[in-house]
Assembly symmetry: C2
Homo-oligomer: 196 residues x 2
């Protein structure tokens, strides 16, 4: 599938400099995205996402615990929009839950994606953000939840998309506006190839 | 134990307005801190923490996944400091782990608090931040980890402290600078009493 993609150079450069590729197609970006956050890069990436959705009305940022929280918080700050966390398991103390089941091909099992009804409304215009897009299982759960409440999913933003996995194509085929700041074309032989 | 405490009024007012108290001493602040984040309140709380540590040199923000991430990210942004996430279980893909065991009286079991050695250094001046301080188990794990690397724990900041639980006294007895923006004195009979 041919897609329009503009790589965000500061992130691409940083992945090539500090990213590590482990056996089995795992990309480690622990030093600046996952375990340790570089506040400047996070700011720059968030502002880039703001620009890419500049022509859209957004009143709420949605993400999934835990790795999407950092960019979501920064986006919420810049857009002055509440940030809502969906969860991958149903917590004991949450009432009014919206829940959907998602099947993970990677883990070969189903899991729940859920969010409180109190925090998603019919008239919401939602930007979803997460750190990684791979097979898009969590994203599918989010689409379901947004549909259930009848809100509008304005788009989905990802810091890093694994272009060799199915999620990106799936989401774009649903006519969802997907923006990824960097698309990894291959991690074969532990070499990081990023789309230009 | 007599402690110096300045309540942060915007948070106190918000807890009294929107906080909910459940049976068993559970305070729910889901609408503005835990499941949905109010970006303005988060900004104001983070700036308040910046002020309370204005006279200290800080080069790194440390928190524990997942509920501490939001204030940590905001603090990292304002202080231009990297944000490091400790975890409550040892992940499979993290090498060079620093690990310590913490006993949770609430859950009557031990758990691990861990962080990668790559992200904590001997010369770090660390501000730890989390959403809640109750029995302080996670905080004790953090103190251990910081000691192991020989870094300096500048202080610990919490949005909400449960003053009727043991964590706050324990930490202050270790001569740690503890700043809580709101201290809950009691949740008895499902009534929220906040220290003035």
């Amino acid at each position: 599938m041919e897609i329009q993609h503009t790589p965000f150079k500061p992130l691409v450069d940083r992945i090539l400099k500090d990213g590590k590729c482990l056996e089995g197609g795992i990309l480690k970006v622990d030093g600046f995205i996952n375990q340790q956050i570089d506040p400047n890069l996070l700011k720059d990436m968030s502002i880039e996402i703001v620009k890419r959705f500049a022509n859209y009305k957004i009143n709420k940022i949605l993400t999934i615990e835990a790795s999407g929280i950092a960019p979501a918080i920064m986006l919420g700050f810049f857009l002055n929009a509440p940030v809502v966390f969906a969860k991958k398991k149903v917590p004991s103390t949450m009432e009014n839950m919206l829940t959907t089941e998602v099947f993970s091909f990677t883990k070969q099992k189903s899991y729940s994606v859920c969010v409180s009804k109190d925090f998603l409304q019919k008239d919401d215009k939602i930007l979803f953000v997460d750190d990684f897009l791979a097979n898009g299982n969590a994203a599918k759960g989010i689409i379901d939840l947004v549909k259930i409440v009848g809100a509008e999913l304005v788009g989905m933003a990802f810091l890093i998309e694994k272009g060799f996995q199915a999620g990106g194509n799936y989401l774009r085929e649903q006519n969802i506006k997907v923006e990824s700041l960097a698309i990894i074309d291959s991690l074969d032989n532990c070499e990081i190839k990023i789309r230009q």
